[in-house]
Amino acid sequence: MNFKLIIDVSVSLLLARWKQTLVAAIGVTFSITMFIALLGFMSGLNDLLDGLVVNRTPHVRLYNEIEPTKDQPISLSRKYSKDYNFISSVKPKNERLEIYNNGAIMNALKKDDRVLGFAPKITAQVFYNVGAIDLTGVINGVDVEAENKLFFFKDYVTTGNYIDLKNIPNSIILGKGAAQKMMANLGDVIQVTTTKGERMQLKVVGYFESGLQDIDKVQSYASIGTAQKLLGESNSYITDIQIKLKDILMAPSVAKEYAHLFDLEAVDIQTANSQFETGSSVRTLISYAVGITLLIVAGFGIYNILNMMIYEKMDSIAILKATGFSGADVNRIFITIALTIGVFGGLLGLIFGFGLSALIDQIPFNTAALPTIKTYPINYNPKFYMIGSIFSIVTTYLAGYFPSRKASKIDPVIIIRGK
């Protein structure tokens, strides 16, 4: 009953100044709309950029690094164990890049529950022969199917069919930049020379576009078998094992474990791409900061309007108090006014925010770097909507709290006598 009366009085006060109310509500609506759209857009872009890296980067990469032995013979000698030794200009010995006993390693990986999948790889340094000139390049020998399953290989093969790499012997998918330099069309045969001087002819079955031009100018893909043939190695030769885990956050600990277990170098994605993580968290921070600033500004708008309303309604407040409304009742009336503005403005803001996001989602966004993206990316994470609605209510509550506290403390005698 009492509650109903307070709402009744609040609504009447709101409607009596509906233009002011509207301005305040529009302020909230606008800020929530922008908050939702901005965060959706920013995190959509973030996901896209992260995806550029995360989709194509193994969570853990096992490889053999050529480096000088950590333990020099002298440090193994018992005689000098208590001495310091300084050896300068240590060189690595003639070691192969191959991962030894990789069959056993892959078997162990297959049995590991944490592993989603793995793809073996060979990296081969080559020269592309274009007439009299040699261009440096890298051919990645990949297991085509595993590569596609784990790293979305198909998405980046913009021309030609990726599976031809497996089905057509001695085939190659050229990086787009490399293909342009060589003026190689689909079906052409190009010639490459390995660092050891072996020559081989490969048929172009597609172009590959990673989004990073420097990579596209250099990298090409061949099947594992072709790469082994190119390097003149046996069919057990591989240089990298790329592992994808079920939980990306486990990568650092798994990498450490494998490095120890298999006696190989293991790099996890967090270490290899720390700059990306920093970048995306900074971008998220910026968009939250902007969004919350918008909401706070709207809050001040409501505060001002309520403050003005209280000055205008001094007489009404005085008479309400004289006829038996307590300070708490007056407080509730103005809080109700503020919350009404907040709830309705916020709700509209959520709807408009969703609409604006959907609109941005339709804007064409074609870039050579991202062949699979056709429109601007938007993230419709419900979290943003939650934050938006909670924040709109909290800011409007606070914006209403201080003016209403003032209203509740107004002494009716002073106003009534002042006439």
Binding site: A322, T323, G327
Partner: protein
Amino acid sequence: MNNKILESIQVSKFFHDPVDIQVLKDINFSLEKGEFVSVIGKSGCGKSTLLYILSTMDTDYTGNVLIDGIAMRGKKEADLAKIRNQKIGFVFQFHYLLNEFSVLKNVMLPGLKWGNYSEKEVEHRAYEKLKILGIENEAFKKPNQLSGGQKQRVAIARALINDPLIIMGDEPTGNLDKKNSEIVFEIFKELAEEFNQTLLIVTHDNEFAERTHRIIEMQDGMIIKDQKIKK
């Protein structure tokens, strides 16, 4: 003793700004049910100040005020608001109607606040009060569409809605012309004589005061004369 509706015991008040001035000095008096009392005195004699203390709106005083035998000293703000709501009706010099609401709703507000009757009943009672005051035809207008006299009558209806023990008026005719003052006085008189309503009216209109049942005259914060008028 049980007929004492309002009692003022040793009420004193000081204003501290800019210098300490005692505006009320040990005011003692009581009102019985059905009395029609006017308080007169020159401007600044403290009559309005006394009224606001008696009405519980001003709590900065010494001494005590009993309403219906209950001491007001030391009560919480919310409790005092409840007493104003249920036991006191106010009529001010200025009508203080809320322009956002219709006349009927203005009258209903204190009744709705009390919540003793359902909304329907409060509406019915409000309409009855307007009828007593002869302005039931204006019930659905907004206060700013009424004349000054009509507004004051609406304010009286609002004061009556919860059947208060006492109606307090602070120069209720101060803003009205002769004709409207007459109407308002007749209403007060009717309330006192027919409905046995207790009234305490502060005024500086001596003609008005002389026609009430009891006159309390104040000077320099003290009661100097308290006389009953024989009819």
